[in-house]
């Protein structure tokens, strides 16, 4: 069996003869999808559904093969086609000679019978008047059943790479010549062909299904009371932190140095506490959080516990992080430097929280106190303006309607992929949370859910075949052949200077025909404007709410006007043509988001304006969303192409052909590159490119009826 390096060397050589002869094989078997609850480890749980089994019980699809793989004989040709216009699902067309020489042993040795229609699905059926067209064999119904799974492997010398795994769509039979033409789509078919209905989604969540951010699914109630502090300066007592007035402040007594330890605490009734909102008087203080739990009247009964269900016992909660310096009291979280603005802080390191009883206490410790002028000298003090400690109560609607609660927006994609049995994926975290719940009814296909998230985040989605296939063991129980493919959901590689996928460089000497670059000014707007949600703001001196007018044109919406690089640098190249692109989107709720939207639009226009197509010998590792470097002297092209479309073709017989056509955008052209760099800068400013998001363990198994 060759290695990847050997396959690369054979491909690059251009001499696909002898040991490097192009090879393609196909295998078929039938199977079905089973769906049930499955208990998974925490690392594989991406959503929580209140009111149902949980937290580790996940609704899960699993592909079950019903028979061993069988190799398809007489493969004449195969063609694959995949691009983002087709929702990232690859289609396959295969032509098979429907005549087989079946071996027999006669009186004088071995001979072969010529079996026309050997693989015809109705062979052996007693149709009209009990007249049978041949004897039924293992191919009966194979090219008729929707359950037929097709695996295609290809390579140079040996068929090293899986290039397609999917399910049968159609089979057309012809005679003279006797051929079967099969069309299939990859396992993404479970996304494109299934509605959000019945057990294609979670069976016990009735449609319309709703995805909601985990934090927005709770009602928050400020329950902090009875504030006490280690000290105060005489005129700023601890109770000021709970009065809801930013104008009042608790201030500790003054110290001679910044490293004195101060603390303030509040009591809470029986509550589920995961976070609190803090507006300090000073920034840059070091803060420790401690929790004293009681077992009195704990919600749901039993002792105080973590939200993961683990019992705590009465007393100061220890998470194994150590004690607050200079004390014997453990802390649950440390924040090295707090900001001088209102911030929501999680109460527990790593996420989650506590379900604690009556008169439990939450204490904040402070060091690195602020230097404050006081009566002709300086003192060091801690101070807080407001502190709200929240009891979280799951919203009634979330429990009754079994909302699907997620953290990162990409978790929605993972949940859907688990429903269709896809266990292998490359899903990048987006680093953003859902701003409001989104619902999908039974009319939507599962792919529409993923596409909706992709559109919100400007990510791409497609399904590629499994990484490997064990042709040596075709048994249905072989776990090496159970994967359904790899689902990719990520920021598109056109935006990345150094994507993780292996990149190949091809020269004009490697291409089968010349590169065909196309430059078009048609998609390029001279200005891009994004308009978001209407702005309303509270102003206590005027009234409860009124419309804020902002911007030079007195816009009532969040907005941004962007002049693309091609319009900026040399406006005369556009002949003074004024083309504008205006985008309205109610999801835009800040001027920053409007700016990001403008840049994404400009980037898309830039990609559309510089495209190219190349044809070269087929090499399966070069897939959709990859970058391929092209160096072509005749067209003076030296650029990477971001692949948006891939077609490949294999033809056997005396006129063998094994080639692929890649189409996409040239990303090293000046205006594409400059726009990408601007977009990356803007995203990196807020850490959106891309970032993992903290997620906590799931909660409330006791809510299960």
């Amino acid at each position: 069996m060759s290695t990847l390096a050997e396959q690369e060397q054979r491909w690059y050589s251009g001499n696909h003869v002898g040991a490097a002869t192009p090879t393609l094989r196909a295998y078929v078997r039938r199977g079905h999808m089973e769906r049930r609850y499955k208990t998974l480890p925490r690392s594989e749980v991406f959503a929580f559904i209140p009111g149902l089994l949980g937290p580790n019980a996940v609704w899960y699809g699993e592909w079950v093969p019903d028979e061993d793989y069988a190799e398809v004989p007489n493969l004449l040709s195969a063609k694959g086609d995949q691009d983002f216009e087709k929702k990232g699902v690859e289609s396959l067309t295969m032509e098979i000679d429907n005549v087989v020489l079946e071996e027999h042993t006669g009186l004088a040795g071995i001979f072969h019978s010529i079996e026309r229609g050997y693989m015809a699905p109705l062979r052996g059926d007693a149709g009209f008047n009990n007249l049978r067209t041949g004897v039924a064999n293992m191919w009966q119904n194979v090219w008729k059943d929707q359950a037929t799974q097709i695996m295609v492997t290809a390579g140079y010398g040996d068929a090293h790479f899986p290039v397609f795994l999917g399910l049968l769509d159609d089979a057309d039979l012809t005679s003279q010549p006797d051929r079967i033409t099969v069309t299939a789509r990859n396992m993404g078919k479970f996304l494109t062909d299934q509605h959000t209905f019945m057990d294609a989604k979670h069976l016990f969540v009735k449609d319309p299904i709703t995805f909601c951010d985990r934090e927005h699914a709770d009602e928050l109630t400020d329950v902090g009371q009875g504030a006490e502090a280690k000290s105060h300066d005489g005129s700023h007592p601890a109770r000021f932190v709970l009065d809801g007035d930013d104008g009042t402040t608790w201030l500790s007594q003054g110290h001679d140095g910044p490293d004195e330890l101060e603390w303030i605490e509040v009591q809470v009734p029986p509550s589920r506490i995961e976070d609190f909102q803090l507006l300090p008087a000073f920034g840059e203080m070091e803060m420790y959080i401690s929790v004293f739990a009681t077992n009195t009247d704990v919600q749901g009964g039993g002792p105080a516990r973590r939200t993961s269900g683990q019992s705590l016992g009465e007393g100061w909660v220890s998470e194994g992080l150590g004690n607050v310096p200079g004390t014997s009291i453990p802390f649950t979280r440390k924040i090295g430097t707090i900001k001088e603005k209102s911030v929501r802080y999680g109460i527990r390191d790593g996420g989650g929280g506590y379900v604690i009883g009556d008169s439990s206490r939450i204490r904040l410790w402070f060091r690195n106190l602020k230097r404050i002028p006081a009566q002709r000298r300086f003192v060091y003090q801690a101070g807080i303006k407001t502190w709200e400690v929240y009891d979280r109560d799951r919203k009634e609607a979330a429990i009754k309607n079994h909302w699907i609660l997620v953290d990162d927006v990409s978790d929605i994609v993972k949940v859907v992929l688990q429903w269709v049995g896809m266990k292998d994926w490359e899903v990048e975290s987006v680093g953003a949370r859902l701003k409001r719940p989104i619902s999908f009814d039974r009319q939507t296909f599962l792919i529409d859910i993923i596409e909706h998230i992709a559109k919100l985040t400007s990510y791409i989605f497609y399904v590629k075949p499994p990484e490997s296939f064990d042709a040596g063991n075709l048994s249905k129980s072989n776990p090496a052949n159970k994967a359904l493919g790899v689902a990719i959901f990520r920021q598109n590689n056109a935006m990345k200077q150094t994507p993780l996928d292996r990149r190949y460089l091809v020269r004009d000497t490697d291409l089968l025909n010349g590169i065909q670059p196309q430059f078009s000014g048609e998609p390029l707007a001279q200005s891009v404007r994004a308009r978001g949600r209407r702005i309303k703001e509270r102003n206590p001196s005027v009234g409860p709410a009124f419309t804020v007018r902002s911007g030079g044109a007195s816009m009532e919406r969040y907005f941004y006007n962007y002049r693309p690089v091609w319009a900026r640098n040399n406006a005369s190249r556009a002949a003074g043509l004024r083309k504008h692109a205006v985008h309205y989107d109610d999801q835009i709720t800040s001027n920053y988001e409007a700016k990001v939207a403008c840049l994404f639009i400009a980037f898309r226009e830039a990609l559309e304006s510089a495209k190219a197509q190349i044809q070269l010998p087929f090499f399966p590792p070069i897939a959709l969303d990859h970058q391929i470097g092209v160096f072509d002297v005749p067209t003076a092209t030296s650029t990477r192409i971001w692949i948006a479309s891939r077609q490949w073709e294999f033809r056997s017989g005396e006129d063998r052909e094994f080639s692929m056509t890649l189409s996409g955008s040239m990303i090293d052209i000046d205006h594409v590159r400059e726009t990408r760099e601007e977009l990356q800068r803007v995203l990196n400013d807020r850490g959106f490119s891309p970032a993992p998001i903290a997620r906590g363990p799931w909660t409330e198994p006791h809510f299960f009826p």
Partner: protein, 143 residues
């Protein structure tokens, strides 16, 4: 030296048929490897090896007996559903499918060999056999 006739064998039933008259001429026979040359936009060509072209026996000869024509036509018809074995005068045996049998009549003053059934004519024929498996001969083990 005794004559060694060409022979058809039906492996299914062990029936055999010896040709009364062997073929007189053979066309070029052999294996050929197909290599396509894909044009490259730069230097050189991309070579892609295809499947070998099939081994085909193409013989021409003369038939004087009506029964031989009929017999060979029957063997051609048998190849609609199965392969047969062909053993030539040198003893080389192959499993073949007869893909063409084209007997053409020619007039003659007198056909003494089969005066009863073909008094005034004889046949010149072409026969083509595509080899499925070489059992013995120079290509045995290769095809």
């Amino acid at each position: 030296m005794p004559r060694t006739p060409n022979k058809f064998i039906n492996p299914k039933t062990a029936d055999e048929y010896e040709w009364p008259v062997n073929h007189s001429e053979e066309s070029e026979t052999g294996l050929q490897r197909s290599v396509s040359h894909g044009a490259k936009s730069g230097n050189g060509l991309v070579l892609q090896q295809a499947d070998d072209q099939p081994l085909v026996f193409k013989y021409t000869g003369t038939i004087f007996h009506q029964v031989q024509v009929e017999e060979m036509a029957a063997w051609y018809a048998l190849c609609r559903t199965q392969t047969v074995n062909f053993v030539d005068f040198a003893g080389d045996e192959s499993e073949v499918i007869i893909t063409a049998f084209r007997p053409v009549r020619h007039r003659t003053m007198r056909n003494p060999r089969d005066f009863a059934n073909a008094p005034l004519w004889y046949w010149k024929y072409e026969i083509e056999m595509e080899v499925v498996r070489v059992i013995s001969g120079i290509w045995a083990g290769i095809l």
